[in-house]
Amino acid sequence: MPKPLELLRRIRMLLHRDRFQSDLEEEMRLHLDLREQEQREGGLSSQAADQAAYRRFGNPTAIKEKSHLTWGWVWLEDFLEDVRYGFRSMLRSPALTAVALLSLALGIGANTAIFSFLDAVMLRSLPVKDPSQLVLLGRGDDSGVTDSYGSTTLYSYPFYRLMQQKNAVFSDVAAIFSMSNRAHGTIDGRDEVEEMHIQLVSGTYFPTLGVQPALGRALTDEDDNTEGDHPVAVVSYAWWKRALAGDPAVLSRKIKLGTTIFNIVGVAPPEFFGTNVGEAPDVWIPLSMMNTAPLSFNGYKDDFYQSMLLMGRLKPDVSMEQATSNVNVLYQQITRAFPDANLNPRNLANLSKAHVVLTPMATGLSSLRNRFSDPLKILMGVTTLVLLIACANIANLLLARSTARAREFAVRQALGAGRMRLVRQLLTESLLLAVVGGLLGVGLAAFADRLLLRMISGGPDVIPLDVSINLRLLLFNLAVTVATAILFGIVPALRGTRVDVTDALKDGRGSASGTSRSPLGKVLIVAQVAISLVLTVGAILFIRSLVNLTKVDTGFNREGVLRLEVDSNVTGLKGDDPRMIAMFQQIEERVNALPGVKAASFASFVFGQGSWNTEIRVPGMEAREDINVKHNVIGNDYFAALQIPLLGGRTFGPQDTATSHRVAIISERMARDLFPPGVNPIGHHYYTRLDPRPDSDVEVVGIVKDVKFRTLQEPPQYIDYIPNPQHPWGYGDLAVRYSGDFNTVSNEVQQAIHSVNRTLPISRITTLDEQVTRSITNQRLVAQLSAFFGLLAVFLSCIGIYGLMSYIVSRRTNEIGIRIAIGASRADVRWLVMREIVLLVAAGIAVGIPITLAGSRFVSNMLFGMSGVNWISLVASVASLLLVGLIAGYLPARRASRVDPMVALRYE
């Protein structure tokens, strides 16, 4: 029997069920008529014949129902019936429906929005072939260049080549330059420079990922086998659309970076954003071009210019263990066999300690993941709690309503409806609420996602992260929706249908059934208050942590400083070219001469822009490998521009030139810890590397106050400052202390820069204050969102309290009427109700406090400047919860006190 045909027939019956129904009826009528006729012919009276016919036939209604059942669609028809009924009952109590839908939409929407970020940042696989086969050598938690032995995150280009040739476990290996580069280039046929995000990758990058270009070709190993002579580029699909307006002749277009002209040979597929989640390179260039301006990384042939992340694709039958052991054997072999390896005891010790961990790379690399995984998990927890509160609320409302509908259910049960049938109908109604709420939630999430992305980005440049609504998200949403429906629907459904039919059918607001339902409602309120307490304490903690962060002493004056970046690479000059050094000094002079400017200086780093650090060697002190000093290359007026106090010695001046004797200014903390005690560091010499080589010798000429360098949370750092002419490197961040109008000064400064060199691209114009603020974006995000959700939780709990108390008051109207009739005062009645509220809120707080204490330990590593139990936050939360609880309960209490005993008792 072919099943599909049978299904087809069933569907046809469903679609034409009216016709099938009437056919059946007609057929049965014919049967009865013929039988009756036969009986009459046999001599019976017409009435007796009729009866006999029915007797032989059986109950036609039952038979019709039985036939109906054989069609197999009863469940669907029942369901549709329930849905129709559900809609009607939703419309019958619009206020309840509105509150339920609003809280569901907010709860589900918030969950979906946060989940979409969790998905984009942590869960989603790269859009490449078999992402689960990709592994990263090391943990990928570092970027930059290092020459230290035993580096297991960053590798040199020669190492990559040898690993690629010698390994037995990968089908291919690719190298990714660990620093992404923002450079300015010109597209052929245009005058103005444009900023592009450039990613250097090995020729094997695209083949290893298995990414096919949308147009042209991908980079290949051929593009990467000799240094400097493969000026080719693959551009991203988005960049092609944006910068070239989707020009179909893209493959004949060219990009000029510095002095090198690159031919565009391919366009990556639309979904491909590289391997780093939250970054989307515009242009991919082979590593063979790493030393062409503007990139100028001289490391293609350097065995210890360790600056690349290595990624491999596991061969199908190779396990992680096999791969790890193979890679580690090769790691030692390759590194030790480099002809220029300096195998002194210290380096050997570091090497032998090194162990390469293989990290699955299916979800890609992400610096966002490190920054946001904790906040996102916390927010996911918070939104889940909010959704729970919303569920409790709706459960309470439904409980109240199902008690109000006790009569209806009693009537239906008396008429023969099964209890399970009623439960099913109530659950359908809950599901209907949840689905509508879930749909609203999806809409809300789509909106919230955009808002959150802007908040996370913390600046004008929105992080390229795909958080649009996708299938996985919709499935998540569906799961959440169904779970909430069951969560808030099942108890009221079971409760509501457990009616004593005869009791409920008796008229009046039965006092007996009134008390039997309240305990559950009260438990729900207690749970809501407890969760609200957790959320408010959390919100207060995060807000206070944020306030602490904004109050941190940065060491410099963050107000009144204009910041911008100049990209000098477009000149094609090397950093140590005297013309380059002169150009920077000339800009500083012209900007300093502007009327609104008090001091202006370039620097390599101003705040939160990464660092360049090395170990140092101070004569007379033990060599310490575990201490890194951060170096900052600065102009002469840097300390004046940032108002960093000079504690001793001098600042840099015109006397510090490329050829003069090499000098440095050190931070207070460095002077105190790294120099021999009792000796004034000024005039003291040290080496800026661990090896005491003469070319790294500098003399300390000044000491300045400690400043925050990368983050506000960091402890005092060891920092030294070097004058630009003596170590020209990565220069171009301008800091200008000004007074007056920001825009006026900004325009004047830009004009001054362009008066020195018309072609210099200027970008990232902002204030220092803004820059510092942006560094705590995620703390601000968590504080704002947890405050929002905390308020939402309290608000929902208030609705819950209000709803339950109003309900209880209306159930107890008789009792209150009697109390007033026998002499209770209005105040007594008010207190009667308020006492119940106070008890509920107090119980919730009592339950919530231990949970809060346990929970705050959980988030303590995300809090800044707070330790131990935070009693102030706790007391503040308890007080505010009690207050809003009382406000929410006051209205029902007042209503109770205004009960007119005559009206109340007349009901009985």
């Binding site: 029997m1 045909l5 049978e6 027939r9 069933r10 019956m13 056919d23 059946l24 007609e26 057929e27 049965m28 014919l30 049967h31 008529d33 013929l34 039988r35 032989r56 036939f57 059986g58 109950n59 036609p60 039952a62 038979i63 039985k66 036939s67 059942l69 054989t70 069609w71 197999g72």
Partner: protein, 109 residues
């Protein structure tokens, strides 16, 4: 008139066999035919034919078409399909197996 209930599960068999013997028939004819053939021994609650016929329609054992009776009334005529014939053979062999087994039990006693 004391009649026996039909053994459970044999209603399909009876209907199929009746249709095989008589060709196209409507419900009333099927009921009468069963009664006649069994010489009034077996009693079918006549209404229960109809759910069974509905089910057989879904299974594809029979097809139905509207026609006119001798008394000029509209009636639905059922007809056996190829798969209905197969089902009939199957039901008969099943029934004989069961009856045979029961008979053996009775005879050994």
């Amino acid at each position: 008139m004391n009649r026996d209930e039909i053994p459970p599960g044999t209603l399909y068999l009876l209907i199929l066999k009746t249709l095989a013997l008589q060709g196209e028939s409507h419900g009333y004819e099927i009921a009468n035919s069963i009664q006649r053939t069994t010489e009034d021994v077996l009693q079918v609650e006549e209404g229960s034919l109809y759910p069974a016929l509905q089910r057989m329609l879904i299974k594809g054992w029979v097809t139905a078409e509207w026609g006119t009776t001798a008394g000029n009334r509209r009636a639905r005529y059922y007809k056996l399909t190829a798969s209905g014939r197969k089902q009939l053979a199957l039901e008969i062999s099943q029934f004989e197996r069961v009856i045979g087994a029961i008979t053996r039990v009775i005879q050994t006693a």
